[in-house]
Symmetry: C2
Subunit: 449 residues, 2 copies
């Protein structure tokens, strides 16, 4: 059957354009090339900057070292065998597949030449830009404490989470296989830093050990295992209200976690940790959940930076002196309404990404940009099964089961991809009903014999 | 409230046993120790041998190098980004958690001393046995072809499947990132061996490339990618009927796969493959789906072995001269009803494991063992979306959509763990309805910056 579309004598007007009209547009586009926006990082900030440019007459190049967008708020659940890595990772190319003006480049940005307006990358040709959005986040800061880089586990990437999961499960296998030969502290797990990551990891680890591993290892005295949170200051969950901090402390302790406050670290060694006050704790698993600093890519800028390496930005999130460059998310430093710098949260990055996209649109149209205003959606941390603290705007605070349910809901809503949402929800429901953590699979690279 | 259980003056009969009765049993057990059955390998054979000993008055030690039971018939779906590794892996300890007479040891058996009745392992103390079930399967055989071990990808373990997935996705990223610098054959994927694994992998790979990666890489000419099956003999799916073989061939070719029959390999190099007839094919991805031979642990035995290393066993699957040792699954060689050796299939291993468990029970009771009879449940291979061949006992053959549905059903039924079944079913439904393969995540070990 012949379709009208294939008929050269078909109607010149209507839904079908004849060949001539279609030919014209690419030629015009080639004559006056569209401005190129390079977005570095496909985390919350970079992804939302890219999505925010969907309707703009620009070409976007989204650059990331990985081929996936990771949902980092759930990373600790991968490390504690509650979720598979693939559950919280979504292929970047799938997310932007329908956005015709985006090209994805898998590469690590190594330097930015602000004068030449070009980004150097570790693989392939350098990438010139007309506008640049820098959203490469933060990396581990050891605060100068010896041994952190060589002996502590990081928890910032999926491979790090898998490595930590393997190490935790492997420690129990080793203790079970040779109880007499086990080194001291083999089953002592130290979380260095009592922020949200340390608290969430401690709660989940205590559950993994107390429910699943206690059943998996009937011949091992699993109750001798210890989960210890070390916090340098006098409180957990810095940034939360005193009542939430007290609730987190009480819940963790009730679940068997040892919490040491005012316990700054002096050193991490192969055999454990030493505190500033001289106390020592034998451990083969120290997880660094304390400090981050801006990604070293920030060294490309000569502009003022804070102690943690974050880049001071203008009110519209642009780099001082470079209105064509925007720095957003964990890497940027900007005072919020109260004067204190905006927190390093997913929501700040998401809103910053959208703002950068809007600002680029305004620049292109010759209009002035507007100052970035962060709309606080609240902060949350889960402490374990049916326990979380959520501090919503307007002073509303949810705790216990209600806080936990709101935590579940918010994280499901923001998890990218309908399929991931369903799989994560199923895993959570399964975990809740059966107490099972199905991903306790020790999957080692290189084990191919 | 005081419970009767805590009352020392409570009833001596009824549901509650007083202290004396509870004490007695372990003491008696210690005086006359129960025979110890050591099971090597927690694959289909070893797992079912262990489960078959649930009611026996023996102590079972289940030894595996991994902490999970892998469902290998679906391994190619991990390599082609359809499933996450955790979807087809189930923690061994979780499977046997309710079976009180089992202890799990994570270790690799390195040698068997038949005279001393002890198994040497790579970690921890050697394991003495009264009865031994050897079910460690097969490993890659390169048939003496140069370059297979150094340049081809294996597809026998979960880490190998993940490495292959990473490599395939990485090849497309590299081609997209630097089209001019791409080496010849970067997007040519060779499956060396046209058995079920080669056919299933080829079909799934053609789908991954043709549907998902074609969308993911809009700036790349994905249609230039090639999937090539090399088969040394004149037919695919050796062991299936001629009609099924023809169907597999026709379906693969219709889906864009190049199938080269009578094409024995001479060499694998970094740059590709060379055939015996001199033809060369540039490729950076050669997957070895051809040959296996018995696990090298079979070298512990001085008894007769076949060319592929498999161990000739007695009618009851015991090792000649060693009625206390059973060899089952891919590692054993035993003629079936027609005289040909039993195939290396999951069902042969499962039934062999159950038979070994029964035989040990009979030996313990001083009764004679019975010869193993394999009950043929059929053979199946899926060629891709809505296409599979299934040859059931009694000459019933299913093809196309019907074969595919029966393949889905059988694999779901035998997948261990209700949770895994639900997750895999969801992933398949998702994949079927949306054409999406959600696990195309390039998750590299060591990428921690």
């Amino acid at each position: 059957m012949a379709t009208p579309a294939r008929d050269p004598a078909g109607p010149a007007a209507g839904f079908w354009h004849d060949g001539r009209v279609i030919e014209q547009e690419p030629v015009a586009a080639r004559r006056r090339p569209r401005p190129r926006v390079v977005v570095l990082g496909a985390g919350f900030g970079g992804l939302h900057a890219t999505l925010g440019l969907a309707g703009a007459t620009v070409d976007v190049v989204l650059v990331d070292r990985d081929n996936y967008h990771g949902f980092w708020p759930l990373l600790y659940q991968v490390a504690t065998a509650g979720l598979a890595p693939e559950d919280i990772a979504h292929p970047i190319r799938a997310i932007v597949a329908r956005q015709a003006n985006v090209a994805v480049r898998r590469a690590r940005a190594t330097a930015i030449d602000l004068d030449e307006r070009v980004v150097q990358v570790d693989e392939g040709a350098a990438i010139p830009y007309d506008y640049l959005v820098v959203a490469v986040g933060s990396s581990l800061s050891d605060y100068g404490i010896p041994g952190v880089r060589s002996h502590a586990f990081g928890l910032k990437t999926l491979p790090e989470a898998v490595r930590l999961r393997n190490h935790i499960l492997g420690a129990f296998e080793a203790a079970d296989s040779d109880p007499a030969g086990a080194p001291e502290g083999l089953l002592t797990f130290v979380l260095a830093g009592g922020g949200p990551t340390g608290v969430e990891m401690a709660g989940a680890l205590a559950e993994l050990i107390g429910t699943n591993l206690a059943v998996d290892f009937p011949h091992l005295d699993v109750s001798a295992a210890r989960v210890v949170v070390l916090e340098a200051t006098s409180r957990l969950l810095n940034g939360f209200s005193a009542r939430s901090q007290a609730e987190a402390y009480a819940t963790l302790v009730a679940r068997g976690v040892e919490v040491l406050l005012d316990a700054p670290l002096a050193e991490v060694t192969e055999a454990g940790v030493r505190l500033v006050d001289g106390r020592e704790l034998a451990s083969r698993t120290v997880v660094w959940t304390a400090g981050v600093r801006a990604n070293p890519l920030a060294d490309s800028f000569a502009t003022p930076r804070a102690l943690n390496g974050t880049v001071e930005v203008e009110a519209d999130l642009s780099l001082p002196g470079h209105p064509e460059v925007f720095v957003i998310g964990d890497m940027a430093r900007r005072a919020g309404r109260g004067g204190a710098p905006l927190p390093q949260l997913a929501q700040v990055a998401i809103q910053g990404g959208r703002h950068a996209a809007r600002s680029i649109g305004q620049r292109l149209e010759g209009r002035p940009t507007r100052p970035f205003r962060y709309h606080n959606h609240g902060i949350m941390a889960t402490i374990g099964r049916r326990s979380a603290v959520a501090e919503l705007p307007g002073g509303l605070t949810l705790r216990g089961t209600l806080g936990w349910l709101s935590w579940l809901g918010v994280h499901l809503v923001f998890l990218v991809g309908f399929r991931n949402r369903v799989v994560v929800l199923f895993n959570w429901a399964w975990n809740y009903l059966t107490w099972d953590r199905a991903s306790r699979v020790l999957l080692e690279e290189g084990d191919d014999g």
